[in-house]
Point group: C2
Chain length 392, copies 2
């Protein structure tokens, strides 16, 4: 089963928006074991969209479109497909009801052109949009291909994909796909890659690396006739990864939501431990990395931000970690003392991290490289990782 993504929107061609939809869909398809071979982006132009559809349908089994489902004349995604497929556009009463309900909820007037949002090619299956007015759709074509229409805004596309498209594709594939997301901090991308090379060459189970600044996530995926069989295929691979690089794995979970911040907050909550921070080089970014995690209110007690690069030394890191813990009466205090830019004769990236609990205070030095932004973000990740270390 080969899939293709077709994003429709002049705003993508103007660079007005970043195409996060393509990455989101690509990741999900990959986790479903569906081959994605092509992505296309075209503007709101009937002729070019028609050519893009014809090309996609000539080489792919599933074409997933994003964008162009709205009520205006520029929203041409559904209409052009109907023409290509030789189908009539008709109003779907259940879709009309969805649109109407959404407008009522938003206390907005439904202007007549919004009826366009309820029109699809004959023979379409409607997908509910819980986060916007435009329903999505699955359009099975006569040649066996399927086109899946999704709305453009990521806040609508992402939940629609998870709620409606994933279960549909899972069912269609006749295989059960199971994944484990293995999160790594403290080993570079290229070293992880080197150590996993042979495992990444496999076809079932598969192992794929996803890298972000300072972190690597490995996705292990198995496909089988039943859930149990898939788990059976997956388990030895995860075990082998753990055997090779277990010391740098901080989480293994069944979902791809997460990261150091999420894991730190989860672990703190599990212990019922509160935390306060004291930071200079990171200028509020560490506090923010904790505060942004849902329900962190339960454990995050705030802290202090100092000017960058003042008083860089091991002792300052120790004093500040202990000081903030005592001042804020938390179970854990963490400090970042360093500089993200050259400060006198101290090179950029010189950072001390302090952590303090009732059991004592310890300090670790890291030397980070790269620009200001990279140093700040890496320092935050090291601090979060140190919290996890402390919690065991």
């Amino acid at each position: 089963m080969q899939a293709e993504i077709l994003c429709v929107g002049t705003e993508l061609l103007m660079g007005q928006i970043l195409n996060t939809n393509a990455q989101f869909i690509a990741r999900k398809l990959s986790a479903l074991g569906i081959d994605l071979k092509y992505q296309q982006v075209v503007g709101d132009n009937e002729e070019r969209l028609e050519a893009a559809y014809r090309l996609a349908l000539s080489r792919s089994d599933i074409v997933i479109t994003s964008g162009g489902l709205g009520p205006t004349v520029d929203d041409i995604t559904k209409r052009v497909l109907a023409r290509v497929a030789g189908r009539k556009m008709v109003v779907f009463p259940e879709a009309e009801e969805m649109v109407r309900r959404r407008f009522a909820e938003y206390h907005r007037n439904m202007t007549p052109n919004n009826r366009n949002q309820a029109m699809f090619a004959e023979g379409t299956r409607i997908l509910v949009n819980h986060h916007g007015t435009a329903p999505g759709a699955i359009v099975p074509l006569d040649n066996g291909c399927e086109v899946i229409h999704l709305p453009g805004p990521p806040s609508e596309l992402e939940p629609m994909f998870e709620e409606s498209v994933m279960p549909y594709l899972e069912k269609r594939s006749e295989h059960v796909i199971v994944s484990r997301y293995i999160r790594i901090f403290g080993m570079g991308e290229s070293e992880v890659d080197m150590r996993m090379k042979d495992l990444e060459a496999g076809s079932n189970p598969t192992l794929s690396p996803y890298c972000s600044l300072g972190e690597v996530m490995l996705r292990a995926t198995a496909s089988a006739g039943t859930h149990e069989k898939a788990e059976e295929i997956l388990t030895p691979l995860v075990k082998e990864v753990r055997r090779r690089i277990g010391h740098v794995i901080y989480e293994i979970s069944g979902t791809d939501h997460g990261g150091l911040g999420e894991t730190a907050v989860t672990e703190l909550k599990a212990r019922g431990w509160t935390v306060a921070v004291s930071e200079d080089a990171t200028g509020g970014l560490l506090a923010s990395a904790l505060a942004e995690i849902p329900e962190s209110e339960q454990i995050f007690r705030g802290g202090m931000v100092f000017p960058c690069g003042a008083g860089i030394c091991r002792d300052t890191a120790e004093e500040r970690a202990r000081g903030i813990r005592e001042q804020m009466r938390t179970d854990l205090g963490i400090s970042v003392v360093g500089t993200a830019v050259e400060a006198g004769d101290v090179p950029a990236g010189t950072v001390y991290l302090g952590i303090s609990t009732i059991n004592g205070t310890r300090v670790k030095q890291v030397c980070l490289s790269g620009g200001r932004d990279r140093i700040r973000k890496l320092a935050v990740k090291h601090a979060l990782s140190m919290i996890l270390e402390e919690l065991g």
Copy 2:
């Protein structure tokens, strides 16, 4: 002149990386007045890449590729083009010298396969890579089309585009393009759009909106034979935009780098004013928004982060703004007091902003909607905007 972007890399099809290159190039082409009609993404597969080249060259004058210039067998972008164009691949001594120099700088051994990075189709013009080992290239083809090869990592592609490709395309276009970037805060995207609709319909000068959370940027662009003539076309448009919505414009500049944080730091530096922050709902994000701006060390003195949602009221905002200014001995103190989540009977998004200078302290209330993340980010933008208001 019609352009097309062709991104090469299986990691894009797996969703392992976000395609920021496509947006970056799209924005730059748009500012250059070059029509971008298509984007394609294909994996590291010779057959599919060849088909993608043939399609692109059949419909576009300029094809810009990103990725696949490295030394491994998976790096096929240059080789496949040479085959499509019927050209021999040859080593370019100046490119080899560039690669060699970069390896020496990085104190890394240059393995033999790295010579591939110096091989291009005959008749190629080499582009220097100041931030990585793989040189880029401009390949003029016999049919008048041009292919521009850029490296995949954004940290290499972006400067190469700005340093080498922009000047080349500017020269090639025979027109001078001048742009103004008009930054707006305090008016919604749809209202800006409504008020600018007629101006956005023009073709020279053009006016295009770029929206990010809570902010709108309008890019006004004119094209003419000389710089003076372009300015002459542009000035009335910018004046008209200013006449219509001048009260919500916080910056008009000649570059697309910027935002509320940059402008706030620039204005504070211009006055020689220091600032300290006190925040709860935003949990460090306001401090971080200032600290992340280059050279903010000169004016940012840090501050306090309080737990979210404790003691929400107008008086707290006033006390904290004054308090942090006095405690940190800064010219300006700013506070965010509120909650990003429901807190007892206070709804999420209830936020008081306080600002204090030697001339006094004032507080403003805003009611923000959306999820936790959106509320936090909007509150930070309101705070930065309040700093700009205070500075006049």
